[in-house]
């Protein structure tokens, strides 16, 4: 079998490069990285070495102290190796070659990250970006998005970086943070004991929460890189780059800014709404032709209720049982006063349970808020007549008694009274 370049992978690499403002090398070269390992069927990995397809670029990372732009060194296309499975084979190793030879984009950042939290924030931002632009499904369990971290420490004030160790097997953001923290502590411990850090590759063991040496620099492979004679240099045309750029979805940063500015949304709300492209699409679909107040209410609802429910179920917006138009139906009833916030949550629960549109649920359950003045006055009069003690207490200056009366009216109307109106009527009648 001979290798054949995956055109879709090239396209996605270019899309990534354009999204991070990198240089797209018009000509890039595939090389062979030679080493023996059972999960590497050819004895070499096809990768890009001297001339990668993507060079440079930056990724914006939101940190507590503000935005930081992390510089990228390069992103190169390569083929994935198989997977060695060291468990469940009774002292032997299993080899899963299903992913061997599939395309992979390796993104290398400059040494711009300071500490585990920053590294994780960067990894999350990168993860969100590649999922957003459709370059990756983001599944870390299945290895669609994997990270290696190079960790070094230096004394405060030093300008040169210390000797680094590469940590492999970081298949979750949590493990990444813990591994980096462990590794930094380990290196600091060595230095404070007067030792030296050896450059090596280390493996993170999540069960023991530690890193351990995989191979030292002396054991490092001489990969004997050379241009792969089976693959000609990859030339990407200007037209293709222009087309891929034109097809690029609006990037998260741009969208965040647009939503914030157009609808005057709070930064935190806008950040949640743009945490994924699907969520932002959902939001924008739900606010079609809406006035600013409806937009605000929709934004709050999605950032609050919807997000909480999705998180509780561990699903994404694409699996939300309530579609954007359906949600809008609910928000409209909230905005026009038909529903109180409390009732709206009840209707929302019913929508999640699959009971249909907000209007149908309101109709079926008789949940319309009572805003009819005559009906409300009657209800208030009845409550006042039945609770003379509270009326007296209120007139004696006990504010609490007023709240109790509001509660009685709400109870009498089974929660359907418009609380603002009830307040107003009560005051009018008592004061």
């Amino acid at each position: 079998m001979l290798p054949v370049l995956n055109a879709a992978a090239v396209e996605l690499a270019v899309r990534f490069g354009l999204a991070v403002g990198a240089t797209i090398n018009r000509r890039s070269i595939f090389a062979r990285k030679n080493y023996f390992y059972p999960d590497l069927p050819k004895g070499y990995q096809i990768s890009q070495y001297e001339l990668p397809i993507v060079q440079g670029g930056t990724v914006a990372v939101a940190l507590p102290e503000g935005e930081k732009r992390i510089a990228l060194t390069r992103a190169h296309l390569e083929e994935d190796a198989g997977k060695s499975l060291h468990e469940d084979f009774h002292g032997m190793s299993g080899i899963d070659l299903n992913r061997a030879g599939t395309a992979l984009l390796e993104i290398v950042s400059e040494p711009d990250l300071r500490g585990a939290k920053e590294a994780v924030a960067y990894a999350r931002a990168l993860h969100a970006l590649v999922v957003w632009i459709g370059v990756c499904d983001g599944n870390m369990q299945e290895g669609s998005f994997r990270c290696d971290a190079n960790v070094s420490v230096r004394r405060a004030g030093d300008s040169a970086y210390g000797t680094r160790c590469e940590i492999k097997n970081l298949n979750s953001f949590r493990f990444m943070e813990r591994a980096i923290e462990f590794e930094a502590r380990r290196q600091i411990g060595i230095l404070e004991d007067g030792g030296r850090i050896e450059q090596e590759t280390r493996l993170y063991d999540p069960d023991r929460d530690e890193t351990r040496s995989m191979r030292s620099k002396e054991e490092a492979h001489d990969y004997r890189y050379f241009p792969d004679p089976d693959l000609l240099p990859l030339v990407v045309g200007e037209q293709d780059i222009a087309r891929i750029g034109a097809e690029m979805p609006e990037l998260p940063g741009v969208r965040l800014q647009r939503l914030t500015e157009t609808f005057a949304l709070p930064a935190a709300t806008a950040a949640i709404l743009t945490s994924s492209r699907q969520l932002a699409d959902y939001f924008e679909s739900a606010i079609a032709n809406a006035d600013l107040e409806t937009v605000r209410q929709t934004a709050n609802w999605i950032a609050g209720n919807t997000s909480a429910k999705l998180n509780a179920l561990g699903i994404g917006i694409e699996d939300c049982p309530v579609g954007p138009a359906q949600l809008r139906g609910l928000i409209d009833r909230l905005a026009d006063g038909t529903l109180s916030a409390k009732l709206a949550k009840e209707v929302d629960d019913a929508m999640w349970a699959g009971e249909g549109s907000a209007d149908a649920i309101i109709e079926k359950r008789g949940l319309q808020q009572i805003s009819d003045l005559g009906a409300l006055e009657k209800a208030v009069d009845e409550v006042l007549a039945a609770h003379a003690r509270q009326v007296e207490d209120y007139r004696a200056g006990k504010q609490k008694a007023f709240n109790s009366l509001v509660g009685q009216v709400m109870k009498a109307t089974r929660g359907k009274a418009n609380p603002a109106q009830v307040n107003e009527i009560l005051r009018r009648k008592l004061d």
């Binding site: 001979l2 370049l5 023996f36 004895g43 070499y44 890189y225 050379f226 004679p229 000609l232």
Partner: protein, 486 residues
């Protein structure tokens, strides 16, 4: 029939003078009779061959005959054949059965050809004498004490001995042309990229190119028609309009500019070989062609350049034979590394190991620039020499090899002497150029001499035409080896 060319067999089949099954029997019987002494075939599967032949006859009966329908063809054992083992001349692949057919096998099978078997070859195509084969050396039908050349020695010997009317080969540094020259047959190495390498076990990927071995230039053209063609599964395969190479063979030699590089007539060229080549040049001159002196100033570097680059690629290509998934695995081993070491130590022969070592060395950290990179630069210079030469000539003509067939065991202890036999065949693949070898006479010992024609990229039709014209006026290609009479 055994002595007939592919073109003649096609006519006979079309005229129903013979059936595919009869032809298959005829050649299978001859293989059975001669193989013990020549060792040209590694694997023969009579049932499979006869089944192929029956299908060809059935197609002909239905008036559905294809261009090569019923023509028996032997395949170098470097081409993967589904269901029939493919050894590549190595212990490593002694029991390897490919799950798929090589593109060349597919194409020839689609064209109706009947597979006679798999021919012997130097291990992983590394050798110039067929002595590196794990399955023993092939003997030259002209003198069984001599080598048939390599690495496609089995294919060349089979065609020379009339065990097959034609065969496939592969050429990396001369592996089609050199054995063709040493066995008095015709061999064509096409332009790099014309014939797909899919399913052709890789030796040096940027050089490897499949091609035919046959008894006439016309037969080479008929086979090339079937073998050439774009294949998306080989990224170096070139997409271009197909040509009918057999159609325009009667070309005009008048005013043909034949380039004669002095570098191909230097020290080490046997006097008889030189004399035969010069006689052929005179014949072309008499036909109206003009000989023009051309220079290939860097040709002298071709051999060292080749012996850096080809082993470099080979060292990487052969990494896959690690005993993990298929191929030879050592019986006893202590751990993973030990399994690699033992499996590869046992599975590979000396020449293969030598080239893996050389290739690994020249790619190693600290040596890459001095060897590999330097060789790549020189490769470009050699290719530029040809570009310059083809401004002054249409074809470059010279000897295929410096000597005729040499004795078995005479060069196995001296790799450099062995490598020197490829001195004239190595420049063309360095430049990706097409080149063919045709017989142009015999030396004083009665051994065949090869004439090499090297053309510009995609000039196969012209090369075949020139060779065909020569063969219309000569009968060297029709001579029968003394040791394998009919």
């Amino acid at each position: 029939m055994l002595n007939a060319t592919v073109a003649e067999l096609s006519s006979a089949l079309a005229a129903r003078r013979v059936s595919s099954v009869e032809l298959a029997h005829l050649f299978l019987d001859r293989i059975e009779r001669l193989n013990a002494s020549l060792n040209a075939f590694i694997t023969v599967d009579r049932a499979h061959t006869l089944e192929d032949a029956r299908r060809a006859d059935a197609r002909r009966a239905r008036q559905d005959a294809r261009p090569l329908d019923g023509i028996p063809i032997a395949h170098k054992d470097i081409y993967c054949t589904a269901g029939l083992r493919t050894t590549c001349g190595s212990r490593m692949l002694e029991n390897f059965v490919s799950p798929y057919d090589a593109h060349v096998i597919e194409r020839l099978s689609t064209a109706g050809a009947v597979m006679l078997g798999k021919t012997n070859m130097d291990e992983f195509a590394m050798g110039s004498s067929n002595e590196t084969s794990y399955f023993g050396p092939v003997r030259n039908p002209w003198d069984t004490a001599r080598v048939p050349g390599g690495s496609s020695g089995g294919s060349a010997a089979a065609v020379a001995a009339r065990m097959a009317p034609a065969a496939t080969g592969t050429d990396t540094g001369g592996s089609i042309r050199q054995p063709a020259a040493l066995t008095g047959t015709c061999g064509l190495k096409p332009t790099y990229g014309l014939v797909s390498r899919y399913g052709m076990i890789a030796f040096a990927s940027s050089f490897d190119q499949g091609g035919p071995i046959a008894r006439t230039a016309q037969d080479l053209a008929l086979l090339l028609n079937a073998m050439a063609g774009f294949d998306a599964r080989d990224s170096t395969s070139i997409e271009r309009a197909p040509e009918d190479y057999a159609r325009a063979l009667d070309i005009d030699l008048k005013d043909l500019r034949i380039g004669v590089p002095e570098e191909f007539f230097g020290d080490g060229l046997d006097a008889d070989v030189r004399a035969r080549v010069e006689e052929a040049l005179r014949w072309f001159g008499a036909e109206g062609a003009r000989t023009v002196p051309v220079r290939l100033p860097n040709a002298g570097l071709a051999l060292p350049v080749y012996y850096v680059l080809a082993p470099a690629e080979a060292s990487s290509n052969l990494s896959r034979y690690d005993g993990v998934r298929y191929g030879h695995r050592a019986q006893d081993y202590a751990d993973l590394l030990d399994m690699y070491l033992r499996s590869r130590t046992e599975g590979f022969g000396e020449e293969v190991k030598r080239r893996i070592l050389v290739g690994t060395y020249v790619l190693s950290h600290g040596y890459y620039d001095a060897y590999y990179l330097q060789a790549q630069k020189l490769r470009r210079l050699i290719a530029q020499d040809f570009v310059a030469a083809y401004r002054d000539c249409d074809v470059i003509v010279g000897p295929t090899t410096p000597t005729t067939a040499f004795a078995l065991d005479s060069k196995m202890d001296d790799p450099v002497q062995m490598y020197l036999n490829d001195i004239y065949t190595i420049p063309a693949p360095l430049a990706g150029l097409p080149a063919l070898s045709i017989p142009c006479g015999f030396d004083r010992q009665g051994l065949p001499v090869g004439l090499q024609l090297t053309g510009n990229h995609f000039s196969e039709a012209r090369l075949l035409g020139i060779a065909h014209r020569y063969q219309q006026a000569s009968d060297w290609h029709l001579r029968m080896p003394a040791e394998t009479p009919l």
